[in-house]
């Protein structure tokens, strides 16, 4: 894959951005020091891209580095080397506050364990999903919760909801900031079959309705079967292939 030239602060001009994929990764590496003191490369992705509006599932086993990969894409972790262009801006070279800002404005994240804030109501959880980006919009937060079937649970705390309902709040929160990219990390891992099916459909439908691309990682064959496009993370991540980084 051709690597785009870098511009100052990792920001590309608008004209160039519109021609680029929404997410474009090249030569991405991230390693950690293991407890025995040895540095191990967990993620080594030479190239990866995702176009706007596309929905892609990555198949990967536990411990394969999927979550680390998503954290890198979201700017939660900084890579050792490589570039991560998200909507024309390179996460790899941005300062941490700029990465936070880019994440707040561009990315929605659905976690396996939902990561809802227990001290806040459903509505406040969704409002916080947009608070650090373009600002809060109460009517949008309410509409999103109504869309996921929780219009009657706006002021409930997460612990007052069922697991499936908590997942739906997490979906609404991930879409709150008008994201161009939604990252989903084993989003149905904590749900039963029925809820998992419904939740997956909801994630895909709402991403489609909001024009957001979806990058989902899972090891669950049932989840992966629901996607038209599935890629094996092992083929993407050279660290899993035993290739020296």
């Amino acid at each position: 894959m051709q690597v785009c030239p870098r511009f100052n602060a990792g920001i590309f001009p608008h004209a160039l951005r519109s021609a680029m994929p929404l997410l474009s990764i090249s030569s991405l590496q991230r390693s950690f020091v293991s407890p025995d003191g040895e540095r191990r490369t967990i993620v080594d992705v030479p190239a990866f891209s995702l176009e706007a509006g596309r929905q892609l599932a990555l198949r990967g086993e536990s411990g394969s580095g999927k979550t680390t990969f998503l954290h890198l894409v979201a700017g939660i972790l900084a890579p050792d080397t490589g570039s991560i262009l998200v909507d024309g801006r390179d996460m790899a070279v941005l300062s941490e506050p700029a990465r936070d800002r880019l994440r707040a404005e561009t990315i929605g994240y659905i976690f396996q364990t939902f990561n809802l804030l227990q001290g806040y109501s459903c509505l406040e959880n969704v409002l916080l999903g947009m608070a650090f980006g373009r600002g809060t919009d109460r009517s949008r937060a309410t509409a999103l919760l109504e869309r996921v079937g929780l219009g009657h649970r706006l002021h409930h705390r997460p612990r007052q909801l069922s697991t499936g309902q908590q997942q739906r709040v997490a979906v609404a929160r991930a879409l709150a900031n008008h994201p161009k990219l939604v990252l989903a990390d084993e989003p149905t891992g904590n749900l039963d079959h029925k809820n998992a099916r419904e939740s997956l459909a909801l994630i895909r439908d709402t991403c489609r309705e909001n024009g957001a691309a979806l990058l989902l990682v899972s090891h669950d064959p049932e989840v992966l079967a629901a996607f038209e496009e599935v890629q094996d993370f092992a083929t993407l991540n050279r660290a899993l292939q035993g290739v020296a980084s």
Binding site: S62, G63, T67, I76, D100, L117, A131, D185
Partner: protein, 400 residues
């Protein structure tokens, strides 16, 4: 807005520690403000109270004892002043007015003081204000009659027309009842001076009370003096205190009281130090309360960071939360202050008759809350630093 929501929710999530910490700050703040205000008010009030007199003449002894006995009705009399000495000072050209008083009796612990009616007719206890009666009439100097200060009348439940037996001495003892009876003829309007807690009877009545030494029947305990000029005070001071050796001339009254406060200023300093230390410990309490909850907070911090919150935003939220606990505490501190100073003012009023006004604005009401909030915010810096260093990835869901 978002910051406020985060702070509010965090305070609510840690409600018990917020409450306990704010309460300790409230007590510290209330104590600090009370100590400060009572100290300043007492000093300002007691150095200004002179019952309308410039000096006191009494038996040889301590000037302070003389003032406390004759003006504040607190101390025992150091001795008697002979009638001739009273007559001499009364007629001295430097003296504008001389009012004799005699002490030595009480009614259920409240002092009975013998004096002359001119105390109520000629003396302005504070500029422009003379003693007035809210009920009845002044006593007849030749009769067994009494005029009561308002405070003592309320405390003893005495009204005009009531009759009482005086008791010998300044300390109440049921066995020391005098045979005479006195009738209440008047009750003074509150003056917020020591006169409010005194039972005033004619001078002659006290001097000749049954059981008193008949040889001292014309003596007085002290003479309250108004001078014609300040220079006269220094002249009489020289005459009685330096050249004479029988009597003491306490002048000026305010300076003698200021000297007393100077002598006991170490006590104020100890109280203030205790209040400062309590404040410091409370601020440390904020630090400990937030710091101890950091492991529970780190997950929330990580989630908020994953939603795009900056490190410094969450850092600021912790500092502001600490400041908010301080602010909450200091709001309650005003209630604690109200309770403490009300109790102290009531005690001071009961003991001295002097009314402290704790509701007058004092700068401590600004700098103490501001200082405590800043101190608490500083206490929040260490947990804020911990929040700053929170690793987002580590505190989100476990890596798959």
């Amino acid at each position: 807005m978002t910051l406020l929501l985060i702070i509010r929710r965090s305070l609510r999530q840690h409600l018990l520690s917020t409450f306990v910490t704010a309460l300790s700050i409230a007590l510290a703040g209330g104590l600090l403000m009370s100590v400060w205000v009572v100290k300043e008010q007492s000093q300002a009030t007691f150095t200004q109270v002179n019952a309308g007199f410039d000096a006191v003449l009494g038996a040889r002894g301590s000037k302070l004892q003389l003032v406390l006995n004759a003006i504040f009705h607190l101390e025992a009399s150091p001795g008697n002043v002979a009638a001739a000495d009273y007559e001499f000072i009364k007629r001295h050209p430097a003296v504008k007015l001389a009012i004799p008083i005699a002490v030595g009796d009480n009614l259920r612990g409240y002092r009975i003081v013998g004096t002359i009616p001119e105390l109520f007719t000629d003396v302005e206890y504070t500029p422009g204000r003379k003693y007035t009666l809210v009920a009845g009439r002044p006593f007849d100097p030749a009769a067994k009659e009494a005029v009561l200060g308002r405070f003592v009348a309320d405390r003893l439940g005495l009204e005009v027309g009531d009759i009482f037996h005086p008791y010998h001495g300044l300390v109440f003892n049921e066995r020391d009842q005098h045979a005479e009876t006195y009738r209440v003829t008047g009750i003074l309007a509150p003056s917020n001076t020591p006169a409010d807690k005194v039972i005033w009877i004619p001078l002659h009545g006290l001097q000749t009370m049954s059981g008193h030494d008949p040889r001292a029947a014309t003596d007085v305990s002290a003479v309250l003096i108004q001078l014609r000029s300040p220079a006269a005070g220094f002249m009489l001071d020289l005459m009685y205190n330096k050249q004479g050796n029988r009597l003491t001339f306490a002048y000026p009254i305010g300076a003698i009281m200021a000297d007393l406060f100077q002598k006991i200023s170490w006590f104020d300093q100890v109280l203030a130090l205790v209040a400062y230390l309590v404040g410091l410990v409370s601020a440390a309490g904020v630090l400990v309360a937030i710091y101890n909850s950091m492991s529970a907070r780190r997950r929330d911090i990580a989630i908020l960071r994953s939603l795009g919150a900056h490190r410094r935003t969450l850092c600021g939220a912790i500092v502001l939360e600490a400041a908010a606990i301080g602010l909450l505490g200091m709001l309650v501190a005003f209630a604690a202050y109200a309770v403490i100073v009300s109790v102290v003012a009531a005690i001071v009023r009961a003991q001295t008759g002097v009314l402290l006004d704790p509701w007058i604005f004092n700068s401590v009401m600004l700098w103490a809350p501001a200082g405590m909030v800043v101190l608490c915010a500083l206490g929040g810096l260490i947990p804020a630093w911990k929040a700053y260093r929170t690793d987002v990835a580590d505190h989100l869901a476990p890596l798959s």
